[in-house]
Structures are given as C-alpha cells and as structure tokens.
Symmetry: C2
C-alpha cells in the first residue's frame, strides 16, 4: 500500500526539521510540491534544500505541479475554500496515481506543522473519500511560526497558567476585544485598527531565516513601524510570511 | 559571557529533536536538569538519552539538582507559583554560578517547547534580574504535545480558518462552554463534568513514545473509557503526561 508522509518542516530554517522528519524523508520515494508562482518560489527552494541536504540516499523524485487558481477575494469564503480544496484534491489524486508506485512512499513537506492552518491533511482525506486510490497517511509534527516567533523574541506565549488563542487576521477582526494572549496568523493586511493601543505586540517575519525581522513594543507606539517595515520587506522579497502575538496589559 | 540554551526536546520521542536543537546541544558544556523524584525519573532518562545519542563530542557534564518543593494544593495559586519560581531562581543561580565557567554554554532540555507552559524562561529572567550573574539566553523551539496529539490522531487542530485555544485544566473549569476548538493541557484530574457530551474529544498520553495511548470519540461516549485508561496507565507508569482536544459539533 502507498504511504503519504506529511512532514512539518518549520518556518524556513532547514534546521527546524526534526530527526523524525529526516527519517520520513529518507523513506520517501517522491516529494510532491505545489508551484505557487514566481514570488513564492523561495518556499520550494527551501524544500529542495532540505531534500538535498538531509536525504542519505540519492534519487528522490521531486514532482512539482501548479497550484490551482484560488479566489482571493471571494463573496463566500467557505464556498471558495471548498472549491479550491476540491481542485487540489483532483490534482493530488492525479499526482499520486501518476507518480507513486503501488508500494512507494510519497511526502508533502508542509510549512510549519500539518495541524495548523495547512490544508494538506484535509485534502488527502478528500482524495481518499473519492475512492479512486487508497493510501496510508503519516503525520510528522513540525515547528510552527507560533513557536519560532516566541523563540526569536525569547518570550513565553502566555502569562503563568493562562490560555493562549491562535487565530487568523480574518477572525481577529470579527472577534471582540483581545482579552488574553492572542497569536494572529495569516493576516495579509494587518491594520491593527480597533485594537487597544495599550496591547503589547510581538511581531516577526521570515522567522528562522537569515531575513528574519522582529519588532515588539506597545501597539500604539510600534504599529506604524510594523506596517512600514512589512510593506518594504514584502516589496523587496516579493512575498512575506509574518505573525504576531498580542498581549493585554496586566490586569 | 555565559550562554544558556533552552532547547525544546518534544514529548518523549528523542527524534522530536530538531537539527537546531542538536546544534545547540553540541555547543553545550553543561546540561542542567531538575530531579523531580523517582516517579518522573523517566523524563531525565530521555534527556540523558538525547545527550548520549546526539552529542558528537564527549564530555558533556549533566548536572542534576532536586526540584524545590511545591505546594500542589495552594490556597492562592498565583502566590504559590511565585514562591516556587523564586526558589527555582535561587537554585538556578547557584547551579550556573557553580558549574558553568565564564565563557561556557549551559542548556536546559525543556519538555515540549520553552514558550508553552514551561517556567524555565521566566525563571532565568528572574535570575538575571537578581543581578548576581549575567548570561545570554537562546531559545530553540521544540515539538509540543499539542502538535504530537494532532499528528498521532492525524487531524488538524481546528476547522478551516477557525481559531484554536490552548488552555489548562484549571482554566477550562473556570471558563464557560467550549465554543471552539480547545486544547487542554496540565489537567491532573480530567473529570469532563459540565462539558457538552456532544463535543468530540481527541485524547492522548505519552505521545510520541512507545507507550503512547490514543482515544477519540464523542465525549459522552468515551469520557469514562478515558478516565479508566488514564488511571490504569498512571498507576502502571507512576506518572502520566496527557492532553486533549475538544471540538464542538458542527454548527
């Protein structure tokens, strides 16, 4: 039976890879990757570096396919994601059926961790539900940008014994005031409007890479700096991956 | 100047260690560990295994000291934690001053990740604030039990684009109904009372180790099983580390 490994590879530092990840990579015959266009080609370059650096035997096939088009400003977010997942499921089924032999092992090298804001696991479930091909799935956890952010700022994510919430830019804007430690991911346009300026923010981009940028301070003081730095960096690199933690003032 | 590395080592599978962790370990002259008594001696055994297996040069000193006593049922939780952190700060200061040369590098091998429900970072901040000794701190992120839980169950932590909350058993009981994906850590006595039986629970113990146990299902159906399995395992091992994810029914 075919096996597909979902290997969390961390946030761009090839040394975020775990020994468990290296073991799975070395059992892998074919690495599947989506080509997300020129701007994000650096992400697949990191994947190729990981394959070349940490595979002990040669001959891993690297199969890259163009990512299906996605509506970035849909009227109905849930429906648009569903369409896009369906298109990816068709593509993954085709890739696996075409490129992976009946007893071979494939892998997706997932940015961060396969359990957090990554669709590969859901899409592979859809592929299996379609019933055309079957395979086992193994998941190897990886370092998330949440952890890389805290490590680079050398901070805990929460006050002693308190909870932490991980959310998206979209959800942050829908939710009420920030009432506890809140990590915000996938915020394509952080405007910080409507947020308490007394919040402390810990912001980071390109975490774990030589291009890492960190800014922290009182939100009211550093918000404009972050927006300026972010815009400049995004123009320079052609893409940005960033994340921030908001911490309310001590009660 | 002295450097102290806080190295996240994952949840008991030595292969959770990252390459960045191995690099820091190999720069380390002294590994500091707390002895938490017979029952938890398995945790330091994993730390020693990691040192022996992944250090390329011999001669790392392993300095173990008894963990200060902690009031487990305090009248005032915040005050008790503060006392205990103060006692640990005194101990860490003494350990570093005694065992680490002026230009040497020390390390604490932190279960999970240094940013999530671990006190080492806060305690080292206290040591520095005391002003007797100075040192640089470097943090190496590690796989948390949150990620290990999701990987072993092969699930995402949240529905598409939705938030996830990470909290403690104590806080779960204080908070209202579970209104989104909620990971519960540090629940020494999970009774699940007052929780909606229609929640789905994904529970795991000794994650990533050969003793790993997984149970999942509708909370109302599996809660008693989990409590029974948990009690048996805890008696057999003398200790338990477990975690669970609660997911509300689809709206």
């Amino acid at each position: 039976m075919r096996t597909i490994h979902l290997i969390g590879i961390g946030t761009g530092n090839p040394e975020h890879l775990t020994l468990q990840g290296i073991r799975a990579l070395n059992a892998t015959d074919v690495v599947f990757a989506l080509d997300k266009g020129e701007a994000k080609s650096g992400l697949n370059a990191v994947r190729r570096t990981i394959c070349e650096r940490y595979r002990e035997r040669p001959g891993c096939r690297f199969v890259e396919a163009p990512d299906p088009e996605r509506d970035r400003r849909p009227a109905d977010y849930g429906l648009a994601v569903d369409d896009w997942h369906a298109a990816r499921a068709t593509l993954y089924e085709e890739l696996i059926a075409t490129h992976l032999g009946a007893d071979e092992q494939g892998a997706f090298l997932v940015w961060g961790d396969p359990a957090l804001y990554d669709s590969t696991l859901r899409i592979l479930d859809r592929v299996r539900a379609r019933g055309r091909i079957d395979f086992a799935v193994s998941v190897v956890p990886g370092i998330t940008s949440v952890q890389a952010l805290a490590a680079s700022h050398r901070i805990p994510l929460h006050r002693i014994g308190e909870p932490v919430r991980i959310t998206t830019g979209r959800r942050l804007r829908e939710a009420g005031p920030v009432d506890g430690a809140t990590v915000v991911m996938l915020d394509g346009d952080p405007r910080f409007d409507g947020l308490d300026p007394a919040l402390t923010i810990y912001w980071g981009a390109y975490l774990g890479t030589p291009d890492e940028i960190l800014v922290s301070g009182r939100l009211g003081t550093v918000a404009d700096d972050i927006r300026r730095v972010r815009t400049e960096a995004r123009e320079r690199h052609g893409w940005i991956m960033d994340i921030y933690l908001l911490v309310p003032p001590e009660a």
